[in-house]
């Protein structure tokens, strides 16, 4: 059949057409974990348009980037699974079965992966390379967010249900201390040798001494201080206040409030884009706010129900380029 002989030629022509140089498109993909819709929204960062949704099993909440940068690992808590995604394309690499992975994070030296089971009251420490469970700490109650000391020797986890912060020695695999730090502690961050802990039941961030867990100060933000993030230049710390629907920017050195942005709809996680904009999930408003910090104005992007974690992959090729590569 002549058609059959024509086919290779057609493919060759098609390939040449696709490989031809194209105008450089802006790059970047955003991944948003829709915890109430069992999906991950993939958004084109340059156009701020949702591209597609990656189905997961039940309830994706938080993420961690593998130390080699090749996998975006997303915890599907009631789906009892970790999904490994290619952060450049969103392709699912694999899924492994893990009990109740609500929150997760690698130690700075890349040796440990900690997985918090909020609903099952457990903190699991894995060897990052082999994914072998090294130790399970059954703990009361509701372990939610985590932070490491910069030397990766200690792990700190907030216990939302009992208003405490627990410190774990990762060398000896034992609890160092477990102390009250306010009301409904959530986000925790190591900053200048201190721990900053968001107290969601209050309007402040507690300053905690990592040696003994004593509260040594309070930084007042607004109602429902939920989670906090350090800007890429290290100069500011951004606190999302769940109840008041605001984001407070603190001076990282002095911890004095610099500015407050109004982001209604239950601001939860955020991520800093290279262009200076800040992407914030709005938990109760099914959308992501892309905030321009200079003007305080934001664009909204529709995502799925109860968007929680967000990850930006600014160097991911744009969808056009991806299509061309295929």
């Amino acid at each position: 059949m002549p058609v059959r002989r024509l086919l290779p030629l057609l493919f060759a022509l098609l390939g040449a057409a696709l490989a031809a140089p194209r105008p450089a498109a802006a790059e970047g993909l955003a991944f948003v974990m829709n915890s109430g819709a069992a999906s991950i929204s993939v958004i084109d960062m340059s156009t701020e348009k949702p591209l597609r949704r990656i189905p997961v099993l039940r309830e994706p909440h938080h993420w961690a980037l593998s130390p080699d940068g090749r996998s975006l690992i997303i915890g599907d808590s009631s789906g009892n699974s970790l999904f490994f995604l290619n952060p450049m394309t969103g392709a699912v690499q694999r899924r492994i079965v893990v009990a109740d992975p609500y929150q997760l994070g690698f130690s700075p030296n890349g040796r440990f992966l900690t997985v918090n089971g909020l609903a099952r009251n457990q903190i699991d420490v894995y060897a990052a390379a082999s994914m072998k469970l090294l130790h399970r700490f059954p703990i009361r109650s509701m372990p939610s967010h985590l932070a490491y000391s910069p030397d990766s020797r200690r792990l700190f986890v907030t216990l939302q249900g009992t208003n405490r912060l627990v410190a774990i020695d990762l060398q000896a695999m034992r609890v160092l201390w477990d102390r009250p730090v306010g009301n409904t502690p959530a986000g925790v961050l190591w900053q200048n040798g201190k721990l900053l802990v968001c107290d969601m039941g209050t309007d402040y961030v507690a300053e905690v001494d990592p040696e003994d867990g004593k509260v040594i100060g309070h930084v007042v933000t607004e109602k429902g201080a939920h989670n906090l993030f350090r800007s890429p230049d290290g100069k500011t710390i951004w606190v999302n206040n769940r109840v008041s629907g605001t984001t407070t920017v603190l001076d990282a050195a002095t911890l004095r409030p610099l500015r407050t942005y109004h982001i209604p709809g239950g601001p939860d996680d955020l991520f800093f884009a290279p262009d200076g904009k800040v992407w914030i999930t709005r938990r109760f408003a099914e959308s992501v706010a892309v905030l321009n910090p200079a003007t305080g104005k934001f664009d909204l992007i529709d995502v799925g129900r109860s968007p929680h974690g967000i990850f930006l992959s600014p160097h991911a090729p744009s969808p056009d380029r991806l299509a061309a590569a295929r």
């Binding site: 069992a38 009892n80 009990a99 109740d100 969601m200 039941g201 429902g224 709809g265 109760f284």
Partner: protein, 310 residues
Amino acid sequence: MRDPFDLAAGWVQEHVLLPFLYQVGWMRWEEVSYGWALAAVYGLVQVAATLALCTPLEAWRPVERWADRRAVTVDILYTLISRVGVLPLVTFVLFYQVQVNLTGWLVDHGWVPPMLELLVPPLLGHPIVTFFAYAAILDLADYWRHRLSHVFRWWWALHALHHAQEQMTFWSDDRNHVLDDLIGFVWFMLIALAIGVPPLQFPLLVLVLRFIESLSHANARLSFGWLGERLVISPRFHRAHHGVLAAGQSSCNYGGVLPWWDMIFGTADFSRDFPPTGDPEADAALRHGGYLAQQWSGLRRFGRALVGRA
């Protein structure tokens, strides 16, 4: 596109529940409260949609006309308690906790928790098809629960409350004894755990199914035609189940949404045309009493059936 009902639930969460939880120091329950807000908003929408569609239908082609509609009001209370009130919260939170703990325990012991999408991998990524697969399995399970509740004397003692209504309307779907509801919930939970039902993932579709169940109780001369009635349960079909002659231990048409289980297991009866409803053996409290009187009467019947004097 954002879902308007989700946004309404988000509004309730942001402007009513969160400030309240913050005030009383219960912020740790904020995720639970959002789940309840979703369940309650969808419950309310269910009730409103059913009201809007069934009221004209019942006025247009009523099977029966009543001068005194007081017996209907208690069914309205049943509906509100069941669909908007505490029940969504209890069932959602309880089921979620049990599911998380059971599946986590299975994972710890090297098992893969059951999930329909994992048993049938092509389903993953097709949420609507998956939903209907889950719904069909749960509907089959509910067929057997309902059928058995007519078989055992102690169980029928409870379920008779549902059948005692002589003025059956679209409000009557949730008219149940709390113990019967509890058994129904445990039954649902066991099946749902076995197949890994995702709680609250498909509120809109649940709304449609619950609407069909409410509609099937409507006081309306409505049949879906020969074929339609064999696809989805119609008011005519379910009314035959509520007929005075069908009350008790040998009844027909036990299905909730799909008539297929009745057709497969030989209990379908498409011949009866809009009989009067009720249970001739039910006492006055069960027929016309208030909420508490009905519950108490059901409990006494249940106790008597257990000791074998019914």
